[in-house]
Symmetry: C2
């Protein structure tokens, strides 16, 4: 029985390692998409778009491992919730990868002669920087303090998004309709990316011994 437990925990470690690989891949995708957007580099944008198949394949692999563990090991209590948390985290990570694709699509298709307009650059750049930083914070979220910081920084992303919208809606001089539409969507993509990073952080906090998931996965 002890050996079975040991094997089970080795499989759980494998699941965690698969998630770590997804985090690296997805973080790089959004970082590259952001570079492509601000440096107007369509080749980098294209690589993010074509790379998404790998993210999807890795999510399928995580889900397969998780389902297999649920079926074969019949875990209860903490182990059960750990596996369900991993299933949720793989879904968050795939969505984050898809949001990177959406940013990359705008970066690829936009006219390189029309970069992000100067009056909005600072806000858009602060927003993307902050959203990107959240993933590293999410992975490090092992205690209540880190989790609280994560929520705080996500609020800052939301505020930057609201500032971007206010400026767009106020009709910033020199910003054409098509640029305003692109920037509104970009703002939305980074906001959602940050939201998923917070969800990811809650999962990490749970896996590393916190209780942050209790409210969302019931009381079993």
């Amino acid at each position: 029985m002890m050996i079975m437990r040991k094997l089970f925990h080795e499989r759980l470690d494998q699941l965690a390692a698969q998630l770590d690989d997804m985090v690296v891949l997805v973080e790089k995708a959004m970082r590259d998409a952001t570079t492509a957007l601000f440096a107007a580099d369509p080749a980098v944008a294209e690589s993010v778009i074509t790379g998404h198949g790998d993210v999807r394949a890795r999510q399928a692999a995580v889900d397969e491992t998780a389902l297999e563990l649920l079926a074969r090991e019949q875990p209860v209590a903490g182990d059960l919730r750990t596996i369900v948390a991993c299933l949720r985290m793989s879904t968050d990570l795939r969505r984050m990868g898809k949001l990177a694709v959406h940013v990359a699509e705008i970066a690829r298709d936009r006219d390189p002669a029309t970069p992000v307009p100067a009056p909005l650059w600072e806000t858009a750049r602060s927003m993307s920087d902050r959203a990107l930083a959240l993933v590293a914070q999410a992975v490090a979220a092992g205690d209540a303090a880190s989790a609280a910081l994560l929520e705080h920084d996500d609020d800052q992303v939301d505020q930057l998004q609201q500032e971007l919208y206010r400026r767009l809606l106020a009709g910033t001089p020199g910003v054409a309709v098509e640029v305003a539409v692109e920037l509104a969507l970009i703002g939305r993509y980074y906001e959602r990316y940050a939201d998923h990073a917070v969800d990811l952080g809650r999962g990490v906090a749970y896996l590393t011994g916190g209780n942050a998931l209790d409210a969302t996965v019931g009381t079993v």
Copy 2:
């Protein structure tokens, strides 16, 4: 043992009934948000926004039932995948409810004197009608033909979104920047709502005996 199985299947029926209730609630939320948007009715919009707490509470209840079933009944094979499918469907439904809130927020905050502009009304209205209809189709998706139709109609939503974007980017006369930004976001919300409806349909197809989930939840 037969009695245990019977009880287990009663709990599964309960889970399905909880999901049905969520579908009714979420579909009404998006229908009301759409009415609020096109009829410029801020009171209806407000009711959608305040009603979202109920959607969240119901998702928590679905998840609790699902986790309890996983822990107590130790299901394998089909039963296991059914429960995991229900967990995914509850997440889809909560997100759909949140998208209705986003549409309602725009409907509440926009100037009632500036309705959806006439040249874009038809496209926006076709898109929202189609997206709303997808949920009923998703719930009915019990066979391969319905599932294929669902994908086809979701493609139409995507095409309408692209048409809306093209018109916005071409600078439709009489459409101010702030209206263009709002419509771009609204287009994105309905597109995501439709995507989640397709995911929901895949879940329903699986629960009613199809195999559509095989590709996404592994081969256990």
